[in-house]
């Protein structure tokens, strides 16, 4: 491993100053970063360990009804917080469908938001990858790309964002609170990740030193608790990234959809909010026809980036199913296999 400095700042301000230096990166639980370092994909000069910073591990309800989740809250603690799981069931379901129990116990909210793509060519330093090394080329483009993006990709990069957590968050209009060199600011989660364009090496809008301190769910996010689901198709029953996933949240009033939220995972370089689909659902009855129409809208711009045309059809079907499940109502208890289409099959249950 390349030798690096390790610093443990005492305050957020110190952290920002330390991380603003060239070659510095934040270390949270390290479940992604350390793997990247061991594989020589990331070769930082300095790790700024934020896990000891005070005040970043709280889950608090604010006066206006927003929920503020500190960046250091672990994925498991958040998902298992009873109030959180009842109010934002799709988010809890998404968290629990990700990785494994051990990883969720360690992984942080901030780290999850900024986890890197799982594109195999990105991980493989012998391959050309524009994201790893700007301008070097993209070996995934004509390679083994069955899992790659079908929306928002460019010739420079066809990678997907692997986070499950981000998918319902973006559907619920989550906001990211950032502490940077210029002080505190906030942006919509939908604006955090960038599509690749010609600069896939720039994955987010964050600047050097920017620290995510919290994620906030606005008061409106509470309105979907009764009809919110996350659905994730994967290649094994647990402990696998999504082939395609979807978060669907509905506000149903008098038998009609008053408001719909829909986002897709595993299809693009960012969690993919499907606003056009939401629009066609607003004000209509929650019928399969309506859901199918929504699914067509959601994938209208999709195109294969390789051997992955099936993901478009799969995504449509997932959208329809996720909306159907949401319309049917949030289950009283999270299924034993969160977000799995096979949640109800008998057998040994282990998330």
């Amino acid at each position: 491993m390349k030798p690096f400095d390790y610093v443990r700042p005492a305050t957020v301000t110190e952290a920002v100053a330390a991380a603003a230096q060239p070659g510095a990166v934040y270390l949270a639980a390290g479940t992604n970063l350390l793997d990247l370092m061991k594989g020589n994909i990331s070769r930082p000069d300095r790790l700024v360990d934020v896990t000891h910073l005070d005040g970043l591990d709280a889950i608090e309800t604010l006066a206006d009804g927003s929920l503020r989740i500190g960046a250091l809250v672990s994925n498991a603690d958040l998902a298992h917080d009873p109030a959180f799981a009842t109010t934002y069931p799709a988010v809890a379901e998404a968290l629990l469908s990700g990785a494994s129990a051990q990883l969720r116990n360690a992984a942080t909210v901030g780290g999850n938001l900024l986890q890197r793509t799982r594109c195999a060519y990105f991980y493989d330093t012998a391959s050309r990858c524009n994201k790893r090394e700007a301008g070097s080329g993209c070996d995934a483009r004509d390679g083994e790309n069955r899992g790659h993006a079908v929306l928002g990709w460019s010739e420079s990069c066809i990678a997907t964002n692997p986070s499950d957590f981000c998918v319902p968050l973006v559907a619920l209009d989550a906001v990211v609170e950032i502490e940077g060199k210029g002080g505190r600011r906030e942006i919509a989660l939908d604006a955090l990740h960038r599509l690749p364009g010609n600069t896939p090496e720039r994955e987010s809008v964050l600047e050097p030193g920017d620290l995510i301190v919290a994620v906030r769910l606005p008061p409106t996010a509470r309105g979907f608790a009764a009809h919110a689901r996350y659905l994730k198709v994967r290649e094994r029953t647990s402990y696998a990234f999504a082939v395609v996933s979807a978060a669907a949240a509905l506000r149903i009033e008098n038998g009609k959809i008053a408001e719909a939220r829909l986002a897709l995972g595993g299809v693009a370089a960012k969690p993919w909010r499907a606003r056009a689909a939401e629009d066609v659902l607003t004000g209509v009855a929650p019928t399969t026809d309506a859901f199918q129409e929504a699914a067509w809208r959601a994938l209208a711009d999709a195109k294969p980036s390789g051997d992955n045309a099936f993901k478009i059809e799969l995504a449509r079907r997932i959208v329809v199913r996720a909306l159907r499940l949401a319309a049917a109502g949030t289950p009283a208890r999270l299924p034993a296999l969160p977000a799995s289409p096979l949640a109800s099959t008998s057998g040994a249950f282990h998330a």
Binding site: Y121, E144, R317, L342, F349
Partner: protein
């Protein structure tokens, strides 16, 4: 080597009859408390770390390594390259016997596959060695790699597997097909797979004066010893290998590969103890894998569903520099009574590490194709798959016409089907749904694996205090050799298991043969059996020849050993303890050796195989195509069961691997570069707990007087066979979609909704 502190004799043990008892693992306590020492747990004083640098191209040559940069890195002691390395006594490319594989020992700059070792960095710490390896930043002259089953001109290899004929036939297949009322012609593909033992390949090695001390997981202590001896020109008695535990091997630790040789070279180069452990991704290259196959099966039946012909052709690959050919088509030799059978193989060479035995080599790949084809044929005949298999039940081995030494397959079918509830299966596919609307499918497969025997030797002793010793260089890969073989030893010595010092796992002990071919318990057990009998005979001689003994005059055959005593066969009240016999004779111990080996006469006369029947239920989301196995029942007949608990675990493991074969496992090779793109356990999928349904294993009683003295057939590999096909057939039955390329993927099942 410190004595292993194994716990023995749980209270439920039936005294005097250890074989057949479900003892828990005697090494279990050591393992769960972290005291079991695996090779990489050793840290001799002064030890350095060696890290292999591997090639990132699959074909070409290394033109430059930045050795200076690596050496400048703090902590790096030396960098071993083709230009700077100790000489070997013989060329590692020479095949001195068929069980030797050509390996990379930095003997040239040529690159023949991705992840080939190209240099070794030796440093004071693992981190420094790792960074040193990264700093080598190799440059290459790259040549186009050969990739995939159509990489080049195919050829017919001289043999497949271990010396099996490439082609085999009985009867006239073309005539049988021409006369058939119904025919199928289907082609199946299986992917490259990697053993992925939990414990990576590792070696800790040091010189102890002029002898070499090696800690290394191996499935073949004596084979490894012989290979080290010839490569380094060291006498056999100057090499000591310890391999008390393996964290799985599955065939990848059977024959000595290049990486441990590099570890020994490194210790020679720097004169200090060395530890070398492969990284997970480095296990996708130099230590073997299961080759991909493309298999064409043509089957014909008469009007009653009786097979008229079975033609099985398998295409596979080997490396560009050595020969191992997955004998996939041979799976069709033994199961179904077609009057005409032909099996054949061809191969292409690709830029890959040489493929190797991987748990059920040939049987696993062949079985999923054969069992799928049988299922397709049954459907074409409009017959239930079990009824079809029974209709074509082989009373004698189809390819040879030999009788079976024993074959309780009919009972496996019956008991497995009854437990599963097979009779309620719909004939048509896509008919069954569960309460949640998921498609439900039931499939089955027949399991089979040959009952093999190798050569082994054991040493037994009875000591003055009446306790026993059994020594055999056996290998515990997790299958339970420490337990099962000790049970056999206890029985043979007529002692309770806690009175037997059972020694295994080092090369200084008598040769136990390899732990492979599902033959270890049978082979080592046979040696233990004969050594035990021989030492008891010596003890009996002492007693029966001594007029002061109550056994005087009983004659050798007239005594039996039980509970630490010899007693007269005709009057069990007359006898005396081992301790008394030895005390009176004034000897500290009696000892004897025994051997285990196949019986050529019996092999000539009989076909010897274990059998089984596996039934699987899958659930499939009708729109989204995600599959989950919800139930599996396997009924297996494998001769004598030495330890039912260990056997059940082996069969569970095999069935899970079968499920994995059908649905999960695949090394994804970049078609342009020949590199494996998922060389890690995050992306190379094996089943996790949530993929494994409740498994039900039935061991069907089977008595086999011919396979060996103990009647043991072996259970290590058979569980994969049958299971993979059962799951694949269940997916068809659930969906109506016949997928012939494994593993079955979601997109294949999205065709309907």
């Amino acid at each position: 080597m410190p004595e292993l502190n194994l716990t023995s004799a749980p209270a439920h043990l039936r005294h005097g009859s250890n074989i057949g008892q479900p003892l828990t693992r005697r090494d279990g306590f050591l393992k769960v408390t972290g005291q079991a020492t695996y090779a990489a747990d050793n840290h001799p004083p002064g030890m350095l770390f060696a890290v292999i640098a591997v090639s990132s191209i699959a074909h070409g040559r290394v033109t430059f390594l930045d050795v200076a940069a690596a050496k400048r890195h703090p902590g790096v002691v030396d960098v071993m390259t083709p230009e700077h390395k100790p000489q070997l006594a013989i060329d590692p490319e020479i095949k001195t016997n068929p069980f030797v594989f050509r390996m990379e020992a930095l003997h040239s700059n040529e690159v023949r596959y991705a992840n080939q070792p190209i240099a070794v960095v030796i440093a004071e710490t693992l981190e420094a060695a790792t960074e040193g390896a990264a700093l080598l930043a190799p440059r290459y002259e790259t040549l186009p790699p050969l990739v995939g089953l159509d990489a080049g001109e195919s050829f017919v290899p001289p043999v497949v597997g271990v010396g099996n004929p490439t082609e085999n036939h009985r009867g006239d297949v073309e005539a049988g097909l021409a006369a058939a009322e119904k025919q199928i012609d289907a082609t199946y593909e299986t992917p490259p797979q990697y053993h992925n033992a939990m414990e990576p390949h590792a070696i800790v090695v040091q010189w102890d004066g002029d002898s070499l001390s090696v800690d290394m997981p191996t499935q073949g202590l004596k084979l490894s010893l012989a290979r080290i001896a010839e490569l380094f020109g060291i006498a056999h008695d100057k090499i000591h290998i310890r391999s008390p535990f393996l964290g799985g091997g599955f065939g990848s630790k059977g024959l000595m590969g290049g990486p441990p040789v590099l570890g020994i070279m490194a210790t020679k180069l720097v004169g200090r103890p060395i530890k070398l452990v492969l990284r997970r991704e480095q296990m996708y290259g130099p230590v073997g894998h299961r080759a991909p196959t493309r298999q064409r099966l043509r089957l014909g039946t008469d009007g009653e569903g009786r097979l008229t012909a079975l033609d099985h052709h398998a295409r596979t690959v080997s490396s560009t520099f050595d020969d191992f050919y997955e004998p996939a088509a041979d799976a069709s030799h033994t199961l179904y009574a077609a009057p005409a059978i032909r099996t054949s193989h061809d191969a292409v060479r690709v830029n890959t590490g040489t493929p190797l035995f991987m748990r059920a080599p040939g049987e696993a790949t062949g079985s999923i194709a054969l069992e799928s084809a049988i299922d397709e044929m049954a459907w074409a005949c409009g017959m239930d798959p079990l009824a079809f298999r029974l209709k074509n039940y082989a009373e004698v081995e189809p390819i040879t016409g030999k009788p079976f030494s024993s074959k309780a397959l009919r009972a496996c079918y019956e008991q497995g089907a009854a437990r599963f509830g097979w009779a309620k299966r719909s004939l048509q596919p896509r008919q069954m749904r569960d309460d949640d609307g998921l498609l439900v499918g039931w499939g089955m497969g027949t399991a089979t694996f040959p009952a093999l025997m190798f050569q082994a030797e054991a040493r037994a002793a009875i000591r003055r205090d009446g306790s026993g010793v059994m020594e055999i260089g056996a290998h515990d890969m997790g299958q339970g050799a420490w337990t099962a073989l000790a049970q056999i030893a206890a029985d043979e010595l007529g002692l309770d298991i806690d009175r037997v010092a059972f020694k295994a796992g080092t090369s200084d002990l008598p040769d136990a043969g390899i732990a492979g071919g599902s033959a270890h318990t049978a082979t080592a057990g046979a040696a233990i059996h004969s050594a035990g009998a021989a030492v008891i005979a010596k003890l009996a001689e002492l007693a029966t020849g001594d007029e002061r003994s109550p056994l005087f005059g009983a004659g050798n055959a007239g005594v039996i050993a039980r509970g630490g005593r010899l007693v007269r066969r005709d009057d069990e009240s007359r006898g005396e303890s081992y301790a008394e016999i030895l005390a009176r004779a004034g000897v500290a111990e009696v000892e004897a050796r025994g051997t285990g080996a196949p019986n050529p006469a019996a092999m000539e006369e009989y076909a010897m195989h274990a059998h089984g029947a596996v039934f699987a239920e899958v659930k499939v989301d009708p729109e989204l195509g995600q599959v989950r196995v919800s139930r599996m029942v396997g009924a297996f007949a494998a001769g004598r069961i030495v330890n039912p608990r260990m056997v059940q675990s082996q069969l569970f493991g095999g069935m899970i691997w079968g499920l994995s074969f059908a649905l999960h496992e695949e090394a994804i090779t970049d078609r342009r570069t020949g590199r494996i793109m998922n060389a890690n356990l995050g992306e190379y999928h094996v089943p996790v707990n949530a993929d494994v349904p409740p498994l039900d294993v039935i061991t069907v009683e089977e008595h086999d007087p011919h396979v060996n003295a103990l009647g043991i057939k072996g259970v290590g590999e058979i569980g994969i066979t049958g299971s993979a096909g059962a799951v694949a057939n269940a997916v068809w039955h659930a969906t109506g979609v016949r997928v012939r390329k494994f593993p079955i993927k979601i997109e294949e099942l999205l065709t309907q909704s």
